[in-house]
Symmetry: C2
Subunit: 564 residues, 2 copies
């Protein structure tokens, strides 16, 4: 591509509402233009990158045996009613009335429509397994669209849905998709991790998320040094604690006049934070519950909700805390409540001896507390905390934390949707069998932003080569002043493209400084400068985007560098 | 592709609501599945064809120098208000409110958004000309969606928009796009015509439509034997008539007691239909007008509306006709009106002598009527009729009529949108200049249906080779019974694909009859049968989809046939 015939529109201004690097750089590089909140046009430059991602996704889905279809973006309410999601999906579902007042939504995902398709198309187990996918525009009516295409309302998604006679076959395809996803992100040149996830509102039996690692990521993920175990912080587990030590101290009341946090109490007493216990008061359908985690830990809300005998809950109000514990927050504990309360202890807390809790009296804590002696053994013991850096992993390794951006998700849905929509096939015995389903999503447009979050510097984007708009930029110094330079650059440009090295020719005639700044900003991995001086010396000036220094190479050395 | 790993789902049933061949055959071949009125999923088979069309369109747009972008499907009301189309576009515009009650539409076309993009991106004449295109899902809320994807509500469209400093440059790009469109339809293997069109509601200075010729087409188009002149019947012109002959008869009142149509009057009087004149009464803003066309011609509403001094009109009511002419319909004419009326005569009528008109009296006509003698020369003379087969063309040839399906449209929009939205660039003198625009659309999904309308028979679809899901189907007889036959078929399948001949292997194990019926129905151009008997004889049974007979060919002859 000759850039003089392309449409490149970079800018030095940083839009005020761009909060993260990828949003800033996509706007500065002219990859996007905003028309309304969360609604963008992808410019020619942006689309080149998006299409590269799309192509890799499609190739690997095809290779994995999935078959492409194309579903409508506008979907009838009736289908969404069948699964109850017309109401349950919430405010992100953009609802629409047509001229006849019939109701539709703009698809945020397509389980209903693909199941409608499948129940029409599939009638025999002989047609299974099958995995249908599409690369399609989706819409989610985000309350607060932001971060550019990272959280746009209209976005490009690859969604796939597989249909199976048995759950075993679903599990096999789930692994197949897991492998395909790993190939996709590896081929795109991204640092990523597949992590265990909570399956959340979409439901289902098993799920994993794929995260692009980036310090700015919204998600916290944990991974082990001992194996490929990795999980979203929502779901990550540490190894169970060892046995509880014997009690060594007597329980005593200590003065903590202004010490309302575990940190302050530990500092005052001169003990490790891990010797203190934090009490979190919640109300459940069955009444007041005190959840205990170590002072250096945090309650994991998803785990707490899933703990045996708990269910849905909310934080207790100050009035409720006063009513049940007789104390103001900051001095709460499981001993000396005014009314009978239930106690749920994190596994780590259940394994502690000689610990510190609030005394349910303003200004006081209890130290040297021991289970069974000073208070009853906890009613419920469960893993209800977030893992922390350095935790022992279940595989014996150590847990590390990182930030990630979710770009893919694989689910074993099981029969949830097929049952609701009566999607059956005849099995080997001629009996109707509800199909088991998997679903597999990739945020195609989000990958572009995530790649930038992972790969950028002060000067701009550093594309992984497979995502770069072009691998090489040939820059011409003063193309109009010197026909020889122009001709040499054109020849090099043609030769590189003929050798299968995707190359752009910057023949726009900009000053070298402005031209180089553009090429750096838009993140072309390799830059080659053709100048009068270089031609005289028989060399080209080569610089990798990721390197600080340029070098002068002759034609042979240059091709060797670029075809490595 | 091995069909055993593909998803093929043909059916013998013809859905009751499928009125035209392409809709019936797309459903029977399993290319589409309907979810709601005008909303379809494209199955793997359907999508293969759609993608082939898409690829050719994209390649030719790229080759013509257009640059691909991707605009949002959901577009803010504010932009559509700037051009007034939020109200003017009418009921086809699907309007949407988001969770914050902000208003949007699902784009039926994208002049507003591309102009918003352009006014942000383009600031200097040096960036012009530029032509942005996209291949995108569009939505038009048709009152009566029907004919499958021929008139779906959600459909795939290629839309392009070019920006220019001068109208001359717009005209150049318009020709460039015209040539690109011609290449696209030629490459797809379709019989088509580019025809002059009325530019209609989108407005603008010049436009042409591209029609796929098919007897079932909704549009009537005229083309000349004398040149490549072709036009939609809405806009087609014949050569002007010769000079008016001298009057030869005296005017006389003739009894036509029950003869209310020109046909009946001509039969009664024993004269040619072309000697009679039809009077059409309309009401305009300026009052009652009688439009006259020859008895064998029909009024062209679009031409009439554009006739000098006329403007918008509606048909007159019977009461109005009685008030102005004093007669009931069937006997109307320009002579003897009760009140002063205006008369507009088609050019052909103005050139007639000794003609027959209604007498404005029930049961009577006037014959031997002549302009200037029996009534004043007509106030307005204009071309207000549809051309008919056999008309003399403006190039001296003869006009022929054909039916067509509109699949493309090129417009010179001029400055209409750029002016409304203040899209300017600085010209050579540093002055702000409103850009001139062209727009160029192709109905990508509609092409698939149009190709079937043009190419089908009793057994199914006959794809033009460039659109076929596969060029060749290798059919295996009893694959499970005979390992040799299977192996030979596999080998042939691999060899053909390796030779660049896109081939499907029908290894589904169907009975030959059912297998052949499927392959015919889905329209694969070339069928090769591998059987035990053939292998013994060293031959394959070859049949072209368009031929009645099959022939036995050895490997060399088969490859020669398929690589021709």
């Amino acid at each position: 591509m000759r850039l003089s015939r392309f449409h490149l529109h970079t800018t030095k201004e940083t839009p005020a509402d761009a909060e993260i690097a990828s949003h800033r750089l996509m706007l500065r590089a002219g990859m996007l233009r905003k028309h309304a909140a969360g609604l963008y046009t992808w410019s020619p430059l942006g689309l080149r990158v998006l299409r590269k991602v799309e192509r890799v996704v499609r190739e690997e889905m095809d290779r994995a045996g999935a078959i492409e279809v194309s579903m409508p973006t506008i979907q009838p309410r009736e289908l969404w009613e069948e699964t109850g999601r017309w109401e349950k999906f919430g405010g992100q579902l953009l609802k629409i009335k047509d001229r006849k007042d019939a109701e539709y939504c703009y698809a945020p995902t397509a389980e209903e429509v693909i199941t409608d398709f499948a129940r029409g198309e599939l009638s025999s187990y002989k047609q299974l397994p099958v995995n249908f996918y599409q690369v399609q525009t989706k819409f989610r009516d985000e309350i607060r669209p932001r971060f550019g295409v990272m959280r746009a309302r209209e976005f490009l998604m690859k969604d796939a849905y597989s249909f199976h006679l048995t759950d075993e076959d679903l599990a096999r395809e789930y692994q197949n998709m897991h492998a395909a996803y790993s190939r996709i992100f590896a081929r795109l040149g991204l640092k990523f991790r597949a992590v265990q996830a909570d399956s959340g509102a979409i439901g289902g039996d098993a799920s994993q998320e794929f995260h692009v690692l980036a310090d700015s990521g919204e998600d916290s993920i944990a991974f082990s040094t001992g194996s490929d175990y990795a999980a979203n912080i929502e779901a990550a587990q540490a190894a169970a604690p060892g046995a509880r030590p014997a009690a060594g101290e007597a329980m005593r009341k200590v003065d903590t006049p202004t010490q309302k946090t575990c940190e302050d109490v530990a500092a005052l007493l001169g003990i490790a934070l891990a010797r203190t216990v934090k009490s979190v008061a919640v109300m459940t359908d069955d009444g007041f519950v005190l959840a205990l985690v170590r002072g250096d830990h945090a309650v994991n809300e998803i785990k707490l909700r899933k703990a045996p005998g708990l269910g849905d809950y909310r934080l207790a109000t100050e009035a409720e805390i006063l009513e049940y514990l007789g104390s103001e927050p900051g001095f709460l504990g499981p001993i000396g409540a005014k009314q009978a309360i239930r106690v749920i202890a994190d596994r780590e807390v259940a394994a502690m001896a000689d610990f510190v809790v609030g005394a349910n009296e303003a200004g006081y804590h209890l130290a040297g507390v021991n289970w069974g002696r000073d208070l009853p053994e906890p009613e419920i013991v469960a893993d209800i905390r977030n893992v922390v850096e350095g935790d022992r992993a279940i595989d014996g390794g150590e847990l590390r934390l990182a930030r990630g951006i979710e770009v893919g998700h694989v689910f074993q849905l099981g029969r949830k949707y097929a049952e609701a929509m009566n999607a059956t096939v005849l099995d080997e015995n001629g009996k109707a069998a509800t199909m088991s389903m998997g679903c597999y999503g990739i945020g195609v447009s989000r990958i572009v932003a995530a790649a930038i979050e992972q790969n950028h510097d002060e000067a701009g984007i550093l594309w992984p080569e497979p995502m770069a708009p072009w691998r090489v930029a040939v820059c011409v110094i003063n193309p109009k002043n010197d026909a020889n330079v122009s001709a040499a650059a054109e020849a090099l440009y043609d030769e590189l493209n003929a050798a299968g090295i995707e190359t752009a020719l910057d023949d726009r005639g900009l000053r070298p400084g402005a031209m180089f700044a553009d090429i750096e900003l838009i993140g072309i991995p390799h830059r080659v400068v053709v100048s009068e001086r270089g031609l005289a010396a028989g060399t080209f000036e080569y610089r990798a985007r990721s390197a600080g220094e340029s070098e002068n190479l002759d034609r042979t050395a240059l091709f060797a560098k670029l075809t490595r």
